[in-house]
Every structure is written in C-alpha cells, then in structure tokens.
C-alpha cells in the first residue's frame, strides 16, 4: 500500500470495524474478537507510517473538496503521528480491558458500547491526521458526538445530566468559539492548512492574535483549560474503560493535541513569541494546573480525583505550548504520550478495584493492596509517572517542560510545575500508602481477589509500558524534535 492508501485505510478500518461489530451483535465472542482485530489492524497501519514520518516524509491525501477552497484532507505530521500511535496502541490494551470490565460488571448494551468505541477511535485518528483546520473541526465534533452514548451508557438520570454537561460544554465551546476562530483565520489568511511556521504570521495585529488564541484555547473545550473543564469530571459516570481510553487518552489528548498543533502550525511559535497579547495563556494554564490539583486533593471519589488530575495534567501541555520555546514544545508533545500511559494505568486500576471490590472511594481502599497486588502495584507505577519520578516516562516530559520554562525565563511557570509536582505526590501517594500500609477494616466484607484476568493483564501491560517508554523515549523524542524544529 502506498502511504496515502495506508492513511485512508487507517480512517476506514475502525469505521468498517464498527459496522462489523454491529453485525456480530448476537455472538459476543465474535464481536469482541472483531474489536480486538480492528484495534490490532489499526495499530499496524498507523505504525507502518512511522518510519516514513520519522524520516521526514509527510504522507498526505486529499479526499474531496467540501466547499470552494476547503478540502477534506489528511496529512501525517510528527505530532499527529505520535498521537495516533498512542491512541491506536492503547486501544488494543483497552479492548482487552473492556472485555473483562463489561463482562465482569454484566453491563447492558455492550454492542453499542463497542460500536461507539470504534467510531470514537476513527474520529480520534481523523483528528490526529487532519490536514487542515476544517478537517480537524469535523473530526473533533464527530468525536464529541460519538462519545455521548458512551458517557450516557447507563441511561440513568444521573448519566443523562452528565451527558448534558458533557455535550453542552464540548459542543457549546466548539461552535461558539472554536468555529468562529477557524472562520476568522480563514477570513484573515485565506487558508486552512497547517504549515510549519504558522499561517497567521505577518501583519495580523497584536490584539487580534491574542483574541484568536483565546478563541482557540477555550473553544477547544477538550483541552479542559479552566473554566471549560467541567465536562471531564461529568464524563466519569461512563463505564471505566471509557474514562480510561477516551477521557484520559483519545478525547482529552485530541484537545491538547489540537491546541499544540494550532500553536505550532497556525500561529507559529516564532511568529507569536514576544507578542504581549499571548502572555496570559501560561498563567491561565498554570492556574488550571494548581486549582485542579487542589480539587483532586479534596476528592474522595477515586475516578473524580483522577479526572481532576487529568484536568491538571492537560494544562501541562497547554502551558508548555504557551511557553513557546523549542524545549517546551518537545515537552508538550512528549507529555501527550507519557501522561496517556500513566493515566490509563490509573483508570484501569480504578476500574479493576470497582469490578473486584465494588469500591469507588479513596477512603475505602485501606489495605486493598494485599488483596490486589498487581492492580495496586500498577497504580503505584502510574502515580509515580505522573509525579515525574524516574524511571517512569512522566519524568522525561516533565524534564523538558521545566527546561523549557527555565529557557523562557518564565519563573512563574517553573514555580507552578514544582508546586504541582508536590500536589501530585500529595494526592496520589496517600492512595498507595493506604492500599499497602493501612490495615484493612474488619467489617466482614466478603473476600475478593484480583479483577478478571483480562483486566489485570491490561493494566500490567500499560504499567510496564510506562516504564518501557522511559527507556524507549528516542522515537517519540525524534518526532517531537521534528515538531519543534518545524
């Protein structure tokens, strides 16, 4: 297959997979088999593009013209490559985990679940490979809509309310702000392409650039910069595999990925460095990092704590992008990958605890580490990665972001990153401590062991991946360097 065909296939495979999954709704084993096969095929297709992109090629395909001058176009550039590899690779593991979780909890509507999941991956791949702003927006909106049935999976009034918040914020911000920003960009520049060095450079007034940046950052609600973050905790009513892959990886990373991509390829790092109108962004991101961490610190519900931790960690990427130095851009790109692995491990663990022990609150986890050693061990690895302790991958991205902040001479950003590291430790380590060093309550609760094997295998894999990525950081680093150097 030519690179362009591979690209098209990467988009088509999950869509076709969704169709097959729906067709196989009567035979659960076949249905889940198709999910796994689709995930593996998708990953193979995406990974096969990696060598060419690493070598500097930019496979591209223009599908058709939508409106005069505006085409549906896919282009693979380094950042999209990184995002696509992470999302499709983790989908394999997540599918394994989903099988254990959905069956272990006897969830209803499993076919709809797997169909929407495949659809969400197709949309995420579309976001990753979007060759212009229109294509990005199209798949961005598709991703919001296709994940709605996943968030409201249980169909309870609570899920419905959460669904309103979810779609209300994501669709609301994207139409009211993101779309306006795109049309404005088109009106100012006459192009929608992502170009190294940006398209907005030149004679656009300072204030306009600042306003546009605000429209993009808050319009991309998936990046969850405060105050448009509320959808993410709301989305936690979904089954845990959804929280794990979509609301720790695919959806939220689509958000920060879009922000980073727009800063690099639409604004242009060099073009807006030094403009006074963009100075506010590091502070807004810094505020989100700290404020979300404090909320996480006070949350007793485990998934809620993880959600606010995600809000905080997403703003690492936004902050790094906003620092506008080569090192911080590298850090931003790497953080998309490292946080994905760490956070999916944590969510996997939370789901495993729920499935095996039906526990959802942090305060219930005393001594659970001895009953579920693999799960809590993996949890500890994920937590260390998010705190930034080597040899977990989170250390590397944090290293680059802090270096970038020092490079930029932005001492507030450095202080935020240091403070946030302490806060991360403060809300993660007590969980690990409780699990292993506090005696379990003697409430006669029925004994339980680990969660179903599929789930344990999945979370051990991602935990191992978190450590492995630390040693294999070269390939994402090479991609990130390409991004930073244009």
């Amino acid at each position: 297959m030519s690179p362009a065909e591979t690209l098209l296939a990467a988009l088509a495979v999950p869509i076709a997979g969704a169709g097959l999954i729906a067709a196989a709704h009567r035979v659960p084993n076949l249905r889940e088999g198709i999910t796994l096969a689709t995930a593996v095929t998708l990953f193979a297709l995406v990974a096969s593009l990696l060598p060419q992109v690493a070598a500097g090629d930019r496979p591209a395909i223009t599908l058709f013209e939508v409106m005069p001058g505006i085409a549906l176009r896919l282009v693979v550039e380094p950042l999209g490559m990184l995002f696509a590899v992470i999302a499709s690779g983790l989908w394999i593991v997540n599918s394994l985990y989903s099988i254990g979780y959905m069956r272990g909890n006897k969830e209803a509507h499993q076919t709809r679940f797997y169909v929407c999941f495949a659809g969400a991956l197709a949309a995420a791949i579309g976001v990753a490979f979007a060759g212009n702003l229109f294509t990005l927006f199209l798949f961005y909106e598709a991703l919001s809509l296709i994940t709605y049935p996943l968030v409201t999976h249980h169909g309870t009034p609570e899920a419905m309310r959460a669904g309103r918040v979810y779609l209300g914020i994501l669709i609301g911000t994207s139409i009211a702000l993101f779309l306006v920003a795109i049309i404005w960009t088109w009106q100012l520049t006459g192009t929608m392409e992502f170009r190294p060095g940006g398209i907005l450079g030149g004679d656009i007034p300072n204030a306009t650039v600042g306003l546009l940046l605000a429209l993009y950052v808050f319009g991309i609600g998936k990046a969850a910069v405060m105050p448009v973050h509320r959808w993410l905790p709301a989305a936690m009513v979904a089954p845990t595999p959804v929280s794990a892959l979509l609301h720790a990886v695919a959806v939220v990373k689509a958000g920060v990925f879009s922000v980073l991509k727009i800063v690099v390829y639409v604004f242009g790092v060099d073009a807006i460095a030094g403009l006074t109108s963009v100075d506010w962004l590091p502070f807004m991101a810094g505020f989100t990092i700290i404020a979300a961490s404090i909320v996480a610190l006070r949350a007793d519900n485990l998934k809620r704590r993880l959600a606010y931790s995600t809000v905080s960690q997403l703003s690492y990427v936004v902050l790094a992008a906003a620092l506008l130095t080569p090192l911080s851009i590298i850090g931003a790109a790497l953080h998309i990958a490292t946080h994905a692995l760490g956070k999916i491990t944590l969510f996997f663990a939370a789901g495993a605890i729920y499935t095996a022990a039906h526990k959802t609150e942090v305060s219930q986890l005393d001594g659970i580490g001895w009953r579920m050693p693999w799960t809590m061990g993996a949890f500890a690895v994920g937590a260390l990665s998010l705190i930034g302790v080597p040899p977990a991958a989170g250390f590397v991205s944090k290293w680059f972001i802090i270096s970038g902040a020092i490079d930029a001479g932005h001492m507030t950003a450095v202080a935020v990153l240091v403070a946030s590291t302490l806060l991360n430790a403060a809300y993660f380590l007590p969980i690990v401590y409780r699990a292993f060093f506090v005696a379990p309550p003697d409430d006669g609760h029925h004994a339980h062991g680990e969660a179903p094997l599929a789930m344990v295998v999945a979370l051990v894999l991602t935990a191992a991946g978190t450590v492995a990525l630390f040693f294999l950081i070269d390939w994402p680093l090479a991609l990130a360097r390409q991004l930073a150097s244009g």
Binding site: F64, V66, I175, Q187
Partner: protein, 493 residues
Amino acid sequence: MISQHYPVLHVVLPLIAAPVMVLARHGGIAWLLATAVSWSSLAVSVALFAQVADGSVVSYAIGNWAPPWGIEYRIDSVNAFLLVLVSLIASVVAIYSRESVAAEVPREQHYLFYTMYVLCLAGLLGIAATGDGFNLFVFLEISSLSSYVLIALGRDRRALMASYQYLIMGTIGATFIVIGVGLLFLMTGTLNLADMAARLPGVTETRPVLAALAFLTVGICLKLALFPLHLWLPNAYAYAPSAVTAFLAATATKVSVYVLLRFYYTVFGESVVFAALPMGGILLALSLAAMFIASTIAIFQDDVKRLFAYSSVAQIGYITLGISFDSATGLTAAIVHLFNHALTKGALFMLLGGVALHLGRIRFRDIGGLARVMPLTSFGVVLAGLSLIGVPGTVGFVSKWYLVLAALEAGAGWLAALIVLSSLLAVVYVWRFVEVAYFREPSEAVSRLKEAPPSMLAASWVMVVGCVYFGLDASTTVGGAAQAAATLLGIGR
C-alpha cells in the same frame, strides 16, 4: 424543439394535470399524475439550471408576445437554483405523500389533495420562473389559495383555524404585494420586471416608489414569515397534513425569500434598498429577533411539529440576516441556506410525519422511548437535528460557515458571535428530542408503534442523506448560490 419551451413547461404541466385529476376523480391516478408532474418539472429545472449555470439568461416570451408587452419568463442562475429546489422537494414529497395522505386524509378527498398539490407546485414554480410583476402576483395567489386548502385538510380540527389564520395573513400580504406592484406600474408604465428595473432609476426618489418598496417589503415578509410577521406559520405547520407541512416548510417560505431578493436586487437595485434606505438595518434587527426569540419559544414547545415550526421562523432569520449584509458572501449564505434549510426541515417534517401516522399529534410526553420502536426515524431526526445545529458534515454547517464569514467580512465580530450563540439554542431543542426518544422507557402506546411504511421512510431518508451529502460536498450548492449572488449583485449595479 421542446427544450425551447422549458421555461414555461413546469408551469403548464401541473396546470394541465390539475383539471385532469378533478375529472378523473380517482386518488391513485391523481397521485400518479402528481408524481409524474413533479419529476418532470425536476428534470426540466435541472436542464435549465445547467443551461444558466454560466451566468447566462434564458428569456421566453409567452404566446410569442415580445416582452415587455407580453409576459416574459426569464430564467437566470437565481431562479434556476430555486426551480431545482422546489421541484426536487416536490418530487420527494410526492413519493412520500402516497402513504401519508392515505392515512391522514379521507379517501374521497385524495384526488382533491393531489389537485391542490400540483396547483401549489405550479404556483411556486410560476413565481420563480416569471419575469412579470403581475404574473408573479397571480402565481402567488394560486400557490397561496391551494396551500390554504391543503392545510385545512389536516385531520386535527384546529387545522381549519390555522388555515383561516393563514388565509387572513396571506391575503393581507398578497394585497400589499399587489399594491406595491401597482404603484410601480403607475410610475414606470410596465409590469415586466427587467423593464421596470431599467425605468426606475429616473423616479427612485419619488414617494410612490418608496411606498411601493414599503408595501412590497411588508407583503413579502408576511409570506416569508419574517419575525414578527410569522404568526400564521406555527399553527399552519403544526396542524397541516404531514406531507403538506414538509412540502410547504421546504418551499413556500423559500420562494417568498426569492421574491424579496428579486425585487430588492433586480427591480429596485441595492443602492436604493440598502444605501438610500435603512433596509439593511431593519432586516438585521428583525433577523436577530427571529433567531433568538423564535428559537427560545421553540425550546418550550410541547408539540414537536410546533417546535420545529418555530425553529423554521428562526432559520428564516438566518436567511434574511444573510440578505441584510448586502454582500456577495452574505447573499451566498442566504441562498445556500434556502436550499440547506429546505433539505433539513423537509427531512424533519417527513420523519415526524411517519410518527404522526399512528400517533396523530406528536407531543414530547407521548413519544418517550421512541428510538426503541422507530430507530431509523429517530436517528434520522437526530441527524437532521445536527444539521439544524450546524455540526460539520451537515448542510447546516455550510450555511453557518458563510453566514459567519459574511459577518466577519463586514467587520461585525459581535454579529458572528450572535450567530453562533443562537445556533446553540438549537442544541437545546434538538437535545430535548434526543433525551425523550432515547432515554425514556417506551409507554404501552409507544411500544405499539412501528416504523413508517418503506416509501415514506425511504423518501425521508433521501432528504436526511441529502443533509449529509451536501454538507460534505457543498461545491454544487455553494457554487450555484455564489453564481446566483453574483447575478443579483451584477444586475443591481
């Protein structure tokens, strides 16, 4: 060659078919004729559209009486676009109407229904095709009178009242229009619109001409249901037979918008309407009021057809907003939204007609859990609803794109913000349907429902697919609209 007669053919065919139907007095034959007439006028319209796509004009002198003395039919890229739209919708609705009418209209009235249907079609196509001011009024009356009858055929008794309401308002509108045309005739001595346009510049500043503009504006805006002249619309749409609602919602107001454009740009010229007079500002204010007030009213409706009727009033606001910019992009947005909104609302009302088949009135409390028993219908409504919101990949997005672009080009960033904010109101009412249809447990009455007959479902889904297809491949529609806008602005100069 028959092709020379194309400009008049789609008016002549239905006008011949109508009396034949009355004589045959047979519902089945009438339906067959109505369908044949609709599809042949579609074929004719597409041929004409292709002929004038390059910006040329086809002039046809009726009875060989040369214009400006005889009645001229004049097809340019503006009305060719509209002819395609109207005949396309008519063709799809004709297929749809067989089962829908069979269920909603008493059997002995079927042939009358289809007679009125083709007369209405003749009227709408005639308005679009004619280049003569008085002829335009005649066709306006033909389409109006037949649509009063069509609405009154609704099985709910309130349909009579709605029809009567529309009759009163519509007659006032038509009277205003004929007064306006009369005043223009008085000042220019001609009824031929092109001729009128050539003679007007000498007398533009006179009071009768300005009065004519005022009468025409109010009269046409009554027919196109511009806020606050929309009061006839919600009831008419809510109580008419489903096929009628779908047909009228997708065509009647759109044709009226065309009449407005024709008078503003071709007859008066943009310099009179927008430069010498504050029509742009007035249209802008009323459009914004329509977008926000009608959408807000829509949110609180319990009757689903009424909800989407109010949504139509809001969407007409988008069209007139595009006109108010008086720019190429604004006009493109307005014209492309004519087409896009017709598809969207056509799809919605046709799908709802499938629900109404068994349920009669469609109220939110009666359709809880609808998606369980009518999954295709419900999903179609969701897709068309996404188009109303303006999600990318649907036609609604294309319209909004050009509308926001026009606002930004005009340097009115605040207006761009208002446009997108108002479309968020659509999220609220579309999501009311989603939550009711998908999250509630079906009641006993609902669980007895089943999908509409295949012909209705297929026709509805043709429109739904159209909403997505022309949202992804908008080159034809945007190209046609841009050409029409250029023609309007070119003539106006």
